[in-house]
């Protein structure tokens, strides 16, 4: 059980204050060598208190810029950002009392200080004294398996421990909103797993609002309940992870045809399938032909079966494809790119 108690800022057990973080029509353009780059075209979303949300997007989609605009590290061109009702643009200091972050591509902590010294420093400059936070800091060390490294200078730690120290420093500030930008970047499988498990435990016990941005879809799928996908500076998907997966699961089919007993030649099957379902992929083995197809809507399954029947193809199995977030993400981004040309 977490030691974060009722007097601590993030201890609310009231689940989902729906607009705890609200971003409306955020825009940001950078000038790169006299060329305007629209990093954020128009981003709007809101996150409820206690939610753990994944922010996904290809490189240059605008994820980090969005996070930095919320944190006040980048000045947006326009748009409104509120955290717990506080206007982040008009009152950045007041808003920053509610936010902490591990930022991508930065060390985030002092390598010459020990793990403990880093924790008490970063908590301290957020107004959390050692007296007030000691018990919780010890708890974080325990949860993140950093207890043995408490008095080790960070420069002497592995990248996994360094990253966990950065996460501990962000959580030690006891803010109700925490951003973790690529928290598992460069971590080995074990360290990544440990960090994910710790985050899940901490989030379920403390009900903090955590926004995780990561290229590692397993991290998002594992720890987040909702995902916001950003592409080309816009939000293209904002849905629950399960909802998103089921959407793709119901439309992704894998059909195995027997090569023996087919009434039509393989070339004919290929030609017809390409004509009716251009998105389908076909692979052959010695005894079977495997077709993978993402259907545009639920009714296309009938058309698919009709097409195969007309071809007198010998169907061995029809199954729904196991879809993970990575596949769904790639598909969404691919479609988005097609639409945008």
């Amino acid at each position: 059980m977490s030691v974060l108690s009722k007097d601590m800022p993030c201890a609310s057990r009231d689940f989902l204050e729906p607009n705890f973080l609200a971003v409306k029509h955020l825009r940001k353009t950078f000038l790169d060598k006299k060329r305007k780059v629209e990093a954020i075209k128009d981003i709007s979303f809101s996150v409820g208190k206690g939610e753990m949300v994944g922010l996904l997007g290809p490189n240059g989609a605008g994820k980090t810029t969005t996070i930095k605009c919320i944190l006040g590290l980048v000045k947006p061109d326009s748009g409104d950002i509120t955290v717990s009702g506080i206007d982040c643009r008009r009152n950045p200091r007041e808003a920053s009392k509610n936010m902490a972050a591990v930022l991508e591509g930065a060390r985030n902590v002092y390598w010459r200080l020990t793990v403990w010294e880093n924790i008490i420093f970063f908590a301290g400059i957020h107004g959390v004294s050692v007296v007030k936070g000691k018990e919780y800091f010890e708890y974080l060390l325990e949860e993140l398996k950093l207890k043995d490294k408490r008095d080790t200078e960070v420069r002497n730690l592995s990248s996994g421990y360094k990253q966990k120290t950065a996460v501990a420093c962000a959580l030690a500030k006891m803010t109700p909103l925490v951003f973790l930008d690529e928290p598992t970047l460069g971590l080995d499988v074990e360290s990544s797993y440990e960090l994910r498990e710790a985050l899940k435990r901490l989030q379920s016990e403390e009900k903090r609002t955590i926004i995780v941005s990561s290229h590692d879809m397993r991290v998002i799928q594992d720890v987040c309940s909702r995902v916001i996908i950003v592409s080309g500076g816009k939000v293209v998907v904002d849905a629950g992870v399960e909802e998103l997966l089921s959407l793709f699961r119901t439309r992704s089919y894998r059909i195995v045809l027997s090569r023996n007993g087919n009434g039509t030649s393989l070339e004919e099957i290929r030609r017809k399938m390409t004509q009716v379902f251009p998105q389908a992929g076909m692979t052959e083995t010695r005894d079977t032909v495997e077709i993978k197809v993402d259907l545009k809507n639920a009714f296309e399954i009938y058309e698919l079966v009709d097409t195969l029947r007309d071809l007198r193809a010998a169907i061995e199995t029809i199954s729904q494809e196991e879809v993970d977030l990575e596949r769904a993400f790639l598909e969404i981004v691919r479609r988005e790119n097609e639409i945008c040309g």
């Binding site: 000045k75 007041e94 920053s96 930065a106 390598w111 010294e117 400059i125």
Partner: protein, 257 residues
């Protein structure tokens, strides 16, 4: 919150100081060696060839002021660059206290350490050279503090530039030697020169340290000029820093290096 932040900042400054002790000591030793070379070099040619003052005591005082200025501004200006380089600058910006105040807290701690060190070093220099200055701490410390505050103004301005232009260490070097010029523009020909950064501070410190005057024996109008210029340069420095900060945030490269 402010008190907790101040305590945390001072604790961290002390911890980092102990970890980088060799760097700090070697910096002071270098300054001491430069002083010895200057002092004995000028003594050998029999005059104030480097124009650091009218007398050897003047050179001595000029060097002490120069040392305070360098330490005062470099710590702040290099501080921003170092934090950006080590990837902690943006984390400091996330503090509700604000980076400016955190930098100021750090400087407050450093100023106490450095001013003590400089005082000790002046004593060592006096022992080495046999030239004795008046170290009346009640008179000297407020003047040291005023010069240090002006140096902080310069430091804030350069830190603002560093936020925008990143690698400007070469410019820092130019400033390091450029400030000497402010000390010795003759006031009789250029009366406005007394308003230049550090000029009045050096002049009054020479009166106290070389001339043996006490703080209350100094000319009131000179002290007024010192106070006005201190407030002005510190204020201008902070304004320049704010402008640099705002530009870096607009361009999105606050933490980049």
């Amino acid at each position: 919150m402010w008190l907790v932040a101040l305590k945390s900042s001072w604790r961290q400054s002390f911890q980092l100081m102990t970890r980088y002790m060799f760097n700090m000591v070697s910096g002071l030793v270098t300054m001491y060696i430069i002083f010895l070379m200057l002092f004995f070099g000028v003594k050998a040619v029999g005059g104030s060839a480097l124009n650091l003052g009218d007398t050897l005591e003047g050179l001595f005082t000029g060097y002490v002021v120069w040392m305070i200025v360098i330490i005062g501004y470099q710590d702040l200006a290099y501080g921003v660059t170092n934090e950006a380089q080590t990837g902690t600058l943006e984390q400091l910006y996330l503090s509700p206290v604000g980076y400016r105040w955190l930098a100021f807290f750090t400087q407050l701690f450093n100023s106490l350490i450095y001013l003590t060190e400089i005082t000790v070093m002046v004593v060592i220099m006096m022992l080495t050279t046999g030239k004795w200055l008046h170290l009346d701490l009640v008179s000297v410390f407020p003047l040291f503090a005023a010069v240090y505050a002006q140096a902080l103004g310069l430091g804030f301005a350069l830190a603002g530039l560093a936020l925008v232009y990143k690698r400007i260490q070469a410019f820092f070097q130019i400033v390091t030697f450029g400030v000497i010029g402010f000390f010795f523009i003759p006031w009789d020909r250029f009366p406005w020169a007394k308003y230049l950064p550090f000029a009045m501070g050096r002049y009054l410190l020479e009166k106290v340290m070389a001339g043996g005057l006490r703080l209350w024996q100094l000319d009131g109008s000179d002290i007024l000029v010192l106070l006005i210029s201190t407030g002005m340069y510190l204020g201008l420095g902070i304004l320049a820093f704010s402008a640099g900060e705002s530009r870096a945030k607009a361009k999105g490269f606050l933490g980049q290096y």
